[in-house]
């Protein structure tokens, strides 16, 4: 037998048939739906008089537009266009018989948080959603990728997608990271190393001891940002960590079915001598807490570095990009990262809003207060259940005592489709995934960091190496 990568195995397991031109019809096990990229797809079904192929394969939730304050949740969405989009999802799900967690459901949250939380994402599945961060679910040894609205309609109507197979890339991160260096720092360092187009045309498998040492939350953070490296899909092989996380989730199999599933899932790793088209290795010990300085996730630096100088960049197109980014960000080359002051702090998003992320941030914040210069510090849990769990652990009290606002779940300031946004020129330490121009609001300036680093920036009012803060606090982790 030819040795296979994890991606090869998932591909083969979902192959319905090859089409005349060599592309494939790939079966989709789970389709996650949200309000922004689905209305035109449902409208398409309606116009063509089609019905969903398999209703139970779909799960819908509103997350992008939803308000994150309790008052706004109760009074309804103020922006009439946002409200119409969310109501349209409710209407479409009711009409087509699709399970939806609506805004009042305690299980509501960010689509990429609730899928795994509910066990709607399982190892070995193909998972798609009209959202590029669907790569998140690859952390479960699933083949998961983002699709456009035409493909949302295609999956609804046929339970399949027409696909060309990607190439295989392996990113190995071996060794141990320093205390205070997290999954977010690892993935930012990877993107800094291979670039935002480095993974184009590939499915990236993340492996190595620094990856397998991560919890499921950490693994999801890493796969979440595979798309920021240009890869539609990120994957991590199944091990006990994956299976332990999945057991007992509402949508997960039970009893005999569970045993059967676990036996199959244990095969979901790349064979030892499988061939990868490209292999990249990183030494975990060299990775430091990361802070992005520009308007692309590849523009990242270690916290102890300075803002780079475009004059040192030989490639003229890259150089022009750096100059434009620094102008937009209001930064000068040579400025120490730790001299950059922040106006706002955002802890949330499908990258970093899970319970472990909130614990890491709370640990830094505990007993301290946000700096006077910080105008707003937000914690937006990834789901209603994450919020509840955090409250059981008293994390909300720690954040509130320090001056943070404790909000309701949603995408929030990651892309500022709801009321949570930056004002023009404001600078934010953000645990989200994109630092593009205007992403967090018109003229907004985003620095991507880990939850612990965002919390540290909130306390100090500027970026600081969270490792030094933790040392001050008695070396806690």
């Amino acid at each position: 037998m030819v040795p296979k990568t994890l991606y090869d195995k998932l591909w083969d397991d979902h192959l319905v048939c090859y089409l005349a031109d060599g592309s494939a019809l790939l079966y989709i096990d789970r389709h996650l739906v949200h309000e922004v990229t689905s209305p035109q797809a449902f409208e398409g079904l309606r116009l063509a008089r089609r019905q969903p192929w398999r209703r139970s394969a779909n799960l819908a939730v509103a997350d992008h537009n939803v308000p994150t304050t309790e008052t706004d949740r109760k009074s309804g969405i103020a922006d009439p266009i946002s409200r119409l989009q969310v109501e349209t999802l409710d209407i479409n799900c009711a009409e087509f018989g699709i399970t939806e967690f609506d805004m009042s459901d305690p299980r509501q949250g960010i689509v990429h948080v609730i899928g795994p939380e509910q066990g709607a994402t399982l190892p070995g599945m193909t998972v798609v959603c009209g959202d590029s961060h669907t790569s998140t679910h690859g952390a479960f040894g699933a083949l998961a990728f983002g699709i456009g609205t035409s493909e949302v309609e295609h999956v609804l109507a046929t339970q399949c997608l027409v696909q060309k197979k990607s190439h295989n890339m392996l990113i190995r991160v071996d060794g141990e990271v320093d205390a205070g260096v997290t999954a977010k720092d690892i993935v930012l360092a990877i993107i800094g190393s291979i670039g935002t187009a480095g993974g184009s045309g590939y499915a990236i498998e993340f492996a190595g001891t620094a990856i397998t040492a991560q919890s499921m939350e950490g693994r999801m953070t890493i796969c979440n940002m595979a798309i920021e490296a240009g890869a539609r899909a990120g994957l991590i092989g199944v091990d006990d960590v994956t299976i332990d996380y999945t057991e007992g989730r509402p949508f997960a199999p039970e009893g005999e079915r569970w045993e059967q599933a676990v036996a199959a899932w244990k095969q979901l790793r790349s064979d030892d001598d499988a061939h990868f088209d490209k292999v990249v290795t990183l030494d975990a010990a060299t990775i430091k807490p990361q802070v992005t300085w520009g308007t692309s996730p590849e523009m990242t630096a270690a916290v102890d570095q300075v803002v780079p100088d475009p004059a040192d960049e030989p490639d003229p197109i890259k150089k022009a990009g750096m100059e434009r980014a620094l102008r937009y960000m209001g930064l000068r080359p040579g400025t120490a990262i730790t001299d950059i002051a922040v106006d706002k702090v955002f802890i949330g998003s499908c990258t970093n809003s899970r319970i472990e992320d909130l614990r890491a941030a709370a640990q830094v914040v505990r007993g301290k207060s946000i700096a006077d210069a910080v105008k707003l510090a937000l914690v937006v849990p990834g789901s209603g259940l994450v919020k509840r769990q955090a409250e059981r652990e008293g994390l909300d009290k720690i954040f509130i005592a320090a001056g943070f606002e404790w909000r309701e779940p949603g995408c929030s300031m990651c892309l500022a489709m709801n009321a949570d946004r930056l004002e023009e020129g404001e600078r934010c330490a953000s645990t989200s995934n994109r630092n593009f121009e205007g992403r967090q609001g018109y003229g907004s300036r985003t620095h991507l960091v880990s939850p612990a680093m965002a919390a540290a920036a909130a306390i100090a009012g500027r970026f600081v190496d969270v490792r030094s803060m933790q040392a001050d606090a008695g070396g806690c982790r």
Binding site: I81, E151, T158, Y442
Partner: protein, 211 residues
């Protein structure tokens, strides 16, 4: 979907790498539940000097003269010349919808982001990948009045001096684009294959079909 066969047009050179879909169509416009009407907001933050909101009358907004699309000679461009990794970021199909609604039918660049590239073909928009040296040359030549003729059937781009540049494209995508075919109809011709797969799979992995 509208078919695409051939176009001859002025070329707008957008000399930036990593143009992301947030730049192509900012998030406030994604709240629309329609597929059309995004054209006036294409590249909104680069195109206008004020802050764009859905429903604004764009004909009276102040234009940013720095954006190449705002130069009168490029106003009618149907072909956009770009740099590496165009369309990176979000999967929003609103990006190709906005490009098409504005009037673009062809994009030419050294590379495109995967999801965006795929979305283009669903909307009658032809993204052409060329060697970066060729793209460099087109950027040097593309100025006022520079026109290209793109012929999908022949897979050629013809320059004003008569040079012909060939481009590669996947045969099935070409076929669908030339004929404006509905992909769902094509897939549903395989309905029996899909049912047979489900039956097979339900035996091997029954837990996937319990719900």
């Amino acid at each position: 979907m509208e078919a695409f066969k051939k176009t001859s047009s002025v070329v707008a050179p957008l000399d930036r790498a990593n143009v992301d879909t947030d730049a192509i169509i900012p998030k406030q416009f994604l709240k629309s539940i329609r597929r059309t009407g995004f054209g006036p907001y294409l590249f909104d933050e680069w195109r206008y000097l004020d802050r764009g909101e859905p429903g604004m009358d764009c004909s009276t907004r102040p234009l940013n003269p720095d954006l190449v699309l705002n130069q009168p000679c490029y106003r009618d461009a149907r072909i956009l010349l770009t740099r590496e990794n165009f369309g990176c970021g979000s999967s929003r199909e609103h990006a190709p919808w906005a490009l098409v609604d504005y009037g673009f039918r062809v994009l030419i660049g050294p590379s495109f982001a995967d999801i965006f590239y795929n979305n283009c073909f669903k909307n009658g928009l032809l993204p052409i990948v060329l060697d970066s040296a060729v793209v460099d040359r087109l950027f040097e030549e593309a100025s006022d009045g520079y026109r290209l003729t793109v012929d999908l059937d022949a897979q050629t781009i013809t320059t004003p001096s008569g040079d012909v540049v060939d481009f590669a494209i996947d045969a099935s995508r070409k076929h669908r684009l030339l004929n404006g075919l509905d992909e769902i109809d094509l897939t549903l011709q395989h309905a029996d294959d899909i049912r047979a797969y489900e039956k097979r799979r339900a035996q091997a992995a029954p837990w996937l079909f319990d719900g």
